[in-house]
């Protein structure tokens, strides 16, 4: 709804705004006064013309969404257009006109009224198109009048000092230390955080941590040091830590568990975010647990509520991680035939699980593990597969186009699946998909549905994660070439963690709901939302 705040109606607007802000109904006198003012304005503007009048109606428009708020339910008598339906602005003035006009000009005939209405509508639409571009920048007075405004998450606005200050204030309120950025950031990614592993957040915390639960501190350390890596592992570890928090939680007097526990979790989530940015799967898990907590009926005793929550967590993990993995491997095994040469990238817990299951079901295949610096996660995947007895080949990503002619299928894991069908995964995945497409090798992405995310992203720049740049420094034969990279002012080390793969390169997504094309992700999300 484009709201153009016009100059003529500021007093009215202010009054309305004031009334809404105070949350009171407009008193009788105010209502009468407003009605009189409107009559006067209409008489004035009758001479000016319909377009002006149409603009006149605009000041009424901002109040309409406000009308949907409970305190102003009596207001519709004054603002006749404010039916509980949030109607678009262009239609609103047309609604507003009939109501005052019978009061104002009872003499007008119906046909004339209709003509007036239509003229106003047209004029309104025309003027709206004109002023649309100019008004798009001017926001509605307070943002509460416009519930559709979405704020960018702060972790992609690091170069905006206002946002950083806001974050610092929030963390200070929650008594969590702020982690400072490290090193020179490449300009394209200067809007993201970049932390150093050698400066952990625990340096600024007191040692027997009282503000943050010990298991959350442990989890944060494990995230920042890279001991718990991988979307599934991080979510499971998070829920495990939440179980311990819930177990040690006692409701303070005069507080309700449902509300207080959610408030207790907020600083912990900020802390974990500071240690390492939250993943999409973690975000979904947090949403789920918050919903479960707030849905606890107030008559539950504390012990009952705690047991219920712990059971919920166990069930969530069981359904979305363990059983989903079983379902996905069942579907995926159908796609693996004897004699296949399967290419995997990095270490995806789900893909490893699928391959091990397939091997146990006596499929004959061999695996090519592609790895990349600086994480070199493929070594761990290689170890797990070889331990089971699967014959593997190991290459670095630079050898991809050399090895691809041998490959019959590519199995990729995903960190998250975005709502426009893009796959967010470890950096390098998009290259694998691209080259595989060039060689006409089918690319199958395996992803559980709890990793589906409502975000939309088409490039890897907007929202990503920057890891410690010192990881790129390597010492060979006693010499470390990049040791003093800080001194070279024009040198920046970039250690990206994620990238997005367009759906054109992905042939199939195997989820626990079945095998779907990449573009069906929004459907799944919609179905999930309906379920909830």
């Amino acid at each position: 709804m484009a709201d153009c705040g016009e100059a003529d109606g500021p007093e009215k607007k202010d009054e309305l705004v004031r009334a809404k802000n105070e949350g009171k109904e407009l008193t009788k006198e105010e209502k009468q006064r407003l009605r009189k003012e409107k009559k006067q304005q209409k008489k004035q503007k009758d001479e000016k013309g319909p377009s002006e009048r149409a603009k006149e109606k605009k000041p009424v428009a901002p109040s309409q969404p406000v009308a949907t708020q409970p305190p102003t339910q009596k207001a519709p008598t004054v603002l006749p257009a404010s039916a509980p339906i949030p109607v678009p602005a262009s239609g609103a003035p047309s609604h507003s006109s009939p109501a005052p006009s019978p009061a104002d000009k009872p003499a007008k005939s119906r046909a004339e009224q209709k003509a007036e209405r239509r003229a106003r509508q047209e004029a309104d639409r025309a003027s709206k198109q004109q002023s649309c571009s100019s008004s798009s920048k001017t926001k509605a007075p307070p943002s509460e009048l416009n519930p559709v405004v979405k704020r960018l998450p702060e972790h992609v606005q690091v170069d905006d000092p206002a946002v950083v200050k806001r974050l610092a204030k929030k963390l200070e309120r929650q008594q969590i230390p702020l982690r400072s950025d490290y090193g020179y950031k490449v300009s394209l990614f200067s809007h993201l955080h970049q932390y150093s592993r050698k400066a952990p957040l625990t340096q600024q915390l007191s040692i027997p941590s009282t503000v943050i639960h010990p298991s959350i501190v442990r989890l944060g350390l494990q995230y920042s040091q890279g001991i718990v890596v991988g979307s599934n592992a991080r979510s499971v570890a998070l829920l495990h830590a939440f179980k311990q928090v819930i177990r040690d939680y006692t409701t303070p007097p005069n507080e309700e568990l449902a509300r207080d526990l959610v408030n207790k979790l907020k600083p912990y989530i900020s802390f974990l975010n500071q240690c390492r940015p939250l993943s999409a799967s973690m975000g979904n898990a947090i949403k789920y647990i918050k919903k479960e907590i707030s849905n606890i009926p107030s008559q539950f005793k504390e012990e009952e509520a705690k047991t219920k929550l712990q059971n919920c967590i166990d069930r969530y993990i069981e359904e979305n991680v363990v059983l989903a993995a079983k379902a996905i491997s069942k579907y995926a095994i159908e796609k693996i035939s004897d004699g296949d040469v399967i290419l995997v990238y990095g270490c995806s817990s789900l893909v490893n699980h699928i391959l091990c299951e397939a091997y146990e079901k006596s499929r004959k295949f061999r695996v090519i593990v592609v790895d990349s610096r600086p994480r070199l996660e493929g070594r761990e995947a290689l170890r797990r597969l070889v331990q089971r007895g699967i014959s593997c080949t190991y290459v670095l990503i630079s050898a991809l186009s050399y090895i691809l002619p041998e490959v019959s299928k590519v199995f990729l894991g995903a960190h998250a699946l975005l709502a426009n069908g893009y796959v967010m995964s470890r950096v390098g995945t998009s290259q694998i998909a691209l080259v595989a497409r060039t060689f006409n090798v089918p690319v199958l992405v395996c992803c559980e549905t709890y990793k589906f995310c409502e975000r939309v992203q088409t490039d890897s720049f907007v929202s990503n994660e920057l890891d410690d740049p010192d990881d790129l420094i390597v010492t060979r034969k006693g010499k470390t070439q990049l040791e003093n990279w800080h001194d070279v002012s024009s040198l920046g080390l970039l250690n990206l963690v994620y990238d997005v793969t367009p759906p054109d390169f992905v042939d199939l997504v195997i989820t626990d709901l079945g095998m779907i094309p990449c573009t069906s992700v929004p459907v799944v999300l919609r179905v999930k939302n309906l379920d909830q």
Partner: protein
């Protein structure tokens, strides 16, 4: 609560009896503060709010009554007294306070002076869910001449052999030279799991340990272990690689000791079995391994893990010998920033006080004195024309005119007569040095102390 701090202050200072026969070791002045202040300050700086202090009745009495002993710490001190003559080791002391231990503990010794970043030790303990995490430091040579030492310093100190893995964090091997008969024996099980081990000898153990709560319970069952450093730590380090801890099944060992140890391991399993599955699932799904080159999972599947943080730079001293005491007095002022000259000291204008000297409260320094690189204790009187260089003067000492004190340690309440020339001596507590005496490289103590063996 995450960690409880336990401060061991019941030690006798057996290696510096000359200093400690009158003053208990925790209350020896270092930089004009009692020795026990330093670890307490470290804990307070890091954020602890309560400390359990295990000490003797004598120390407790002195802390509560003696005005010279001022421990201005804001933390709550829970003093637990043990009998002085009970000859309790540090592990025995832990067993004594077993009832108070409710979470994992951080054990400190009262003679530790350090500016280490404690979070490094505790982070290892937290992140790897370790059973033991300790602090060590590279040893520094003591450069000061130790009074009373005749001849070259014998390297009689037994060396410690510490074996760490490639990252330098995981503790694989710990043994003291005294325990090794013929040579260093390394078990095959260790070599199989960690083929590359770095063995270091020049390290000082700071006697700062993070221990899991189950270890305290284990100590309660195994009364044979009496010292943390001497017995418990080597035991835990060895146990990392023994077969019984690696298998979760109950072993039917007939050996009594092993049975008790298994019961401890089972205890550990019981505590964590509730959420063990989730932790196991996390580890399974996480693509991290602490080593590479073999087919084992992270930590080789072992449940007992010991970690060490080795400090490269920074101050870390254990004041348990005279040499360490002197060195600590030199460096301790760097750890706190109080003015070198206490405001209540009466210092006359014509005396020369070097920048690295510390003058305690209520001192009286007269004219024409020269004090360089020294520490003057509380309520000490220094008369005219005295030269004090490189020395440590404790509380309540009187130094008459014209004395020349160099490189010495003068204990509390001693009196140095007029014109005495003391070089590299240790003057015991309440001793009198007659005027115009000339002493070099001697330990002057009372006759009653001489009888102690």
């Amino acid at each position: 609560m995450e960690l409880q701090a336990v401060l061991m202050a019941a030690g006798g200072g057996s290696r510096m009896m000359d200093l400690t026969y009158n003053t208990p070791k925790p209350l020896l002045p270092v930089g004009n503060k009692p020795l026990i202040w330093y670890p307490l300050n470290l804990l307070e700086r890091v954020g602890f709010e309560e400390v359990i202090v295990i000490t003797t009745k004598e120390v407790q009495k002195m802390i509560s009554t003696d005005p010279k002993v001022k421990l201005d710490v804001k933390m709550k001190l829970d003093l637990v007294c043990i009998q002085e003559d009970a000859d309790m080791g540090t592990a025995d002391a832990l067993r004594h306070i077993q009832q108070k231990v409710k979470t994992d503990i951080l054990v400190l010794s009262c003679d530790l002076i350090t500016d280490a970043a404690l979070h490094e030790v505790v982070d290892l303990f937290r992140a790897h869910n370790a059973t033991l995490s300790m602090l060590m430091s590279k040893a520094h040579e003591f450069t000061e001449t130790v009074p009373g030492q005749k001849g070259k310093k014998k390297n009689g100190e037994q060396r410690d052999f510490v074996g760490v893995d490639g990252t330098g964090k995981r503790l694989l091997f710990m043994a003291n030279e005294a325990d090794l008969d013929e040579g260093l024996v390394i078990r095959k099980s260790i070599m199989r799991k960690h083929p590359r081990m770095h063995i270091k000898t020049g390290l000082v153990d700071a006697h700062l340990y993070c221990l899991k709560k189950s270890v305290v319970h284990f100590l309660a069952d195994n009364k044979s272990i009496s010292s943390i450093r001497g017995e418990l730590v080597p035991y835990l380090v060895r146990k990392q690689f023994s077969k019984s801890t690696n298998s979760p099944k109950v072993n039917d060992e007939t050996h009594q000791n092993l049975k008790k140890i298994d019961s401890n391991v089972n205890l550990e399993i019981q505590i964590s079995s509730r959420d063990e599955e989730l932790l196991h699932l996390t580890q399974e799904r996480s693509c991290w391994n602490d080593h590479r080159g073999d087919m084992s999972e992270a930590y080789h599947g072992g449940r007992l893990r010991c970690y060490v943080h080795i400090m490269d730079e920074g101050i870390c001293y254990r004041v348990n010998t005279l040499a360490a005491y002197i060195e600590a007095n030199r460096l301790a002022p760097k750890l706190f920033d109080e003015p070198a000259v206490h405001p209540s000291a009466v210092v006359s204008e014509r005396c020369l006080i070097g920048a690295d000297s510390i003058i305690g409260a209520s001192c009286q320094i007269s004219d024409k004195t020269s004090i360089k690189r020294s520490t003057i204790g509380v309520s000490t009187t220094v008369r005219e024309k005295v030269k004090v260089t490189n020395s440590i003067i404790m509380h309540g000492v009187t130094i008459e005119e014209g004395c020349n004190i160099q490189g010495s340690v003068i204990c509390s309440n001693a009196v140095i007569g007029r014109g005495a020339d003391i070089k590299y001596c240790l003057v015991g507590s309440a001793q009198r040095i007659e005027p115009d005496a000339e002493r070099t490289n001697e330990v002057i103590v009372g006759t009653d102390q001489l009888m102690e063996i």
